[in-house]
């Protein structure tokens, strides 16, 4: 187990290193010149050259990258070109909002997805089942910005139940969480439904029924926990999916997380911020996957990590 974790952590470090090289290289190849952007439109050529030198932008690619990596290993993400603030500080200020939103989204997708999936399995091939599966299909297919804007319009603008975007209270959290969880809920309901149907066909379920247990008890105590197994592994992988979702959902709802930060930075080619957010997201994805792999054997003793 320990050896396994060590191996995975080492792998993760290599992946992150790879991500940092590729991202840095891609941003390096962009035609936009950071020194000119900082210098502004009234700057003289000397000013631009001076800034380029101060930032080390005149160095060859590998030297720039090694410099960045060196600072990074000391926990220094650099200073934003346009926001003039430490990137670490910007990310730290926004990370709590993103984590809160992710927690909300995971809660929503589990609540909606598992409920819909379980109901679908019990009522299989009825109109209830079909309706739920159509809704889940829409959930899986609909782009998040569409879902987000529709929810915002319906529940905040027309009905006025929730605030129109923003951050701060519980009611601010509801719509973005649901918008983000809707996609996952679609997946989970379909997974839950088929997993549940599998389990319900198992011998031990039939035995439980045969020995006279009530439907509800068989369902909740015997079938449900077993049907959950494949889903738990999914949650870890979901964290990676969320990393792409937060950029969209946070922008729609004005949610002050790192997704919004990334979106603003991309529009203005603020390279240190793009690098920082990319690395933090990559960390989250790697960690999520690792967590998923580690948690499964804890719940299901039949699975062993090697």
């Amino acid at each position: 187990m320990i050896a396994y974790i060590l191996r995975r952590v080492l792998q993760a470090a290599l992946i992150l290193l790879g991500v940092s090289v590729v991202t840095y290289a891609l941003l390096y190849m962009l035609p936009a010149d950071p020194a000119r952007q900082i210098a502004g439109r009234s700057a003289t050529a000397e000013t631009v050259a001076n800034i380029r030198e101060q930032l080390g932008l005149n160095l060859p690619f590998y030297e720039q990258y090694l410099r960045y990596l060196g600072n990074l290993l000391q926990g220094d993400f650099g200073r934003s070109y346009l926001q003039k603030t430490e990137v670490g500080e910007l990310i730290a200020a926004r990370l709590p909002a993103t984590l809160l939103l992710m927690a909300g989204a995971i809660f929503c997708e589990l609540l909606l997805g598992l409920t819909a999936g379980a109901i679908g399995a019990i009522k299989r091939n009825t109109s209830v089942d079909r309706t739920l599966m159509v809704v889940s299909f829409v959930g899986v297919s609909a782009p998040q910005f569409v879902v987000g804007i529709l929810m915002l319009y319906l529940f905040a603008v027309v009905l006025g139940w929730f605030p129109i975007g923003g951050y701060g209270t519980f009611s601010h959290l509801v719509l973005p969480s649901v918008s983000m969880g809707f996609l996952g809920a679609g997946w989970y309901s379909r997974m839950m439904r088929s997993s549940m149907l599998d389990v319900l066909r198992q011998d031990y379920v039939r035995t439980a029924r045969a020995k006279g247990l009530g439907r509800a008890r068989v369902f909740f105590v015997h079938a449900f926990p077993n049907a959950l197994l494949p889903i738990i592994a999914m949650i870890g992988i979901d964290i990676g999916m969320f990393m792409s979702g937060i950029v969209v959902v946070e922008s729609v709802f004005g949610w002050p997380g790192i997704g919004q930060l990334a979106w603003q930075a991309i529009q203005r080619v603020d390279i240190p911020i793009i690098m920082g957010v990319t690395l933090v997201s990559a960390c989250a994805i790697v960690l999520g996957n690792l967590l998923a792999d580690l948690v499964v054997p804890l719940i299901d003793p039949r699975i062993k990590l090697r």
Binding site: L30, R36, S42, T44, K84, I164, G166, V252
Partner: protein, 542 residues
Amino acid sequence: MFSKALKGVALAALIAGAGLAGTATLPTHAHAGEGSITVTYKDDVSTLDPAIGYDWQNWSMIKSLFDGLMDYKPGTTELVPDLATDYTVSDDGMTYTFMLRKGVKFHNGREFKASDVKYTLDRVVNPKTQSPGAGFFDTIKGFDTASAGEADGLDGIEVVDDYTVKFTLKQPDAAFLHKMALNFAHIVPKEAVDEWGQDFGKHPVGTGAFMLDEWTLGQRLVFKANPQYHIAGIPKLDSIVVEVGQEPVVALLRLQRGEVDIAGDGIPPAKFLEVMNDPEYKDLVVSGEQLHTGYVTLNTKIPPFDNVKVRQAVNMAVNKDRIVRVINGRAVPANQPLPPLMPGYNTDYKGYAFDPNKAKELLAEAGYEDGVATTLFVANTDPQPRIAQAIQQDLASIGMKVEIKSLAQANVIAAGGEADQAPMIWSGGMAWIADFPDPSNFYGPILGCGGAVPGGWNWSWYCNEELDAEASKADAMADPSQAEARIDLWRDIFTKVMDDAPWVPVFNEQRYTIRSPRLVAEDAILVDPVHIPVHYDYIAVK
């Protein structure tokens, strides 16, 4: 020596009155204002350091936190002294002496002195500051060595006594007083800059009407009235809450619900007609002119635009009225580089009338009777690509096959700064909004030879040395008695530029701001041509 005797106190009263003329009550007490407003922006506020801040969100905030020696009468482009009470200009236009206002306090309680003026400008031109505005001060003596980092400060600034400061220039500069009103010349106290270093922009200390009270990164900023502000009765509000990260559409919805007082990014294009046609909101929309021209640059170094006939043909082929319709009439068609609000605008000039047939003839004369292919660069945010398509269609009708390259703004700017990259650029989203209301600002960087350098903003790579010489002559006419002749000369220069047709001036964008019904301010304050986007100091609430 001639002197412009403008007495500070009288002036302050004038300014305070001007902001209120035609609206509700005059304040009867001198203490800081009442009430609070909420303003929203999409993008984060980057920095509030006046030496560095140069974007839509922070421009006017910095003006409210800091003061310069000069400012403009609220809602106008008329220059008036601010932290100075008076100034004199030597006969040769080489020396400016400013008498400073006494008793003005920084937010930290210390009195503002002449040494702060010198410190501020030394800091701006110091290459370590990385100020995007350093270049504006290149006419001050000692700029070259100071900006190269070879000298500690500018030789040309002399602290005569605590309340007098003298600037010596290396050449006469008629726009110098405007430059003293720029954010980059707004006064900062040394001790606060030393304390916060690179983070001064997050902990601004100035002499302005508002002080920064709270800043939650990525969420909101709160400004509080400065009770010691040097203009009595200003500011009119007690506080301003700025919320960032709000999409313009969301901001508009919140405004309609009464949660927001000013949507800082204006009315989103997609909602424009809806808002304008709604009787409930019509009266809440304020429109005003701005110092802006949207134009297409024609790169004079790349065929076919190296031929003046082709450039003229393009000028005749573009249907500007239709483009204005594409953006729902939020602009007026333009025929020359200068916007109508700018001194030197030529009201008699007719420009190139829309005439596709004549355009085709000119193209044939230039040797392109069978048509020609070229590329138009454009920023990829709405409505710019739609405008590019309209231009594409117009040019197709005279036989020019235009390929549209729609890129992130920073990449378009980078392409424009290279001589051989972009044959045509639609400037939308990056177009020139004047830094100060003087025609010189519309020439040098974008039409002069000095801007036609790698990384420059003269994307036409147009360089007419004769006109450059005339421009230098105009800039040297610093004596106020020559002011009119100088403007005439500039008018002439811009008219001559159009003979060479390096641009297609397309339209002058109007600014539209929407505000809540409880806001009390003259329209001009809400679309102030200098305090962009709004002049916070003069806004009140019911």
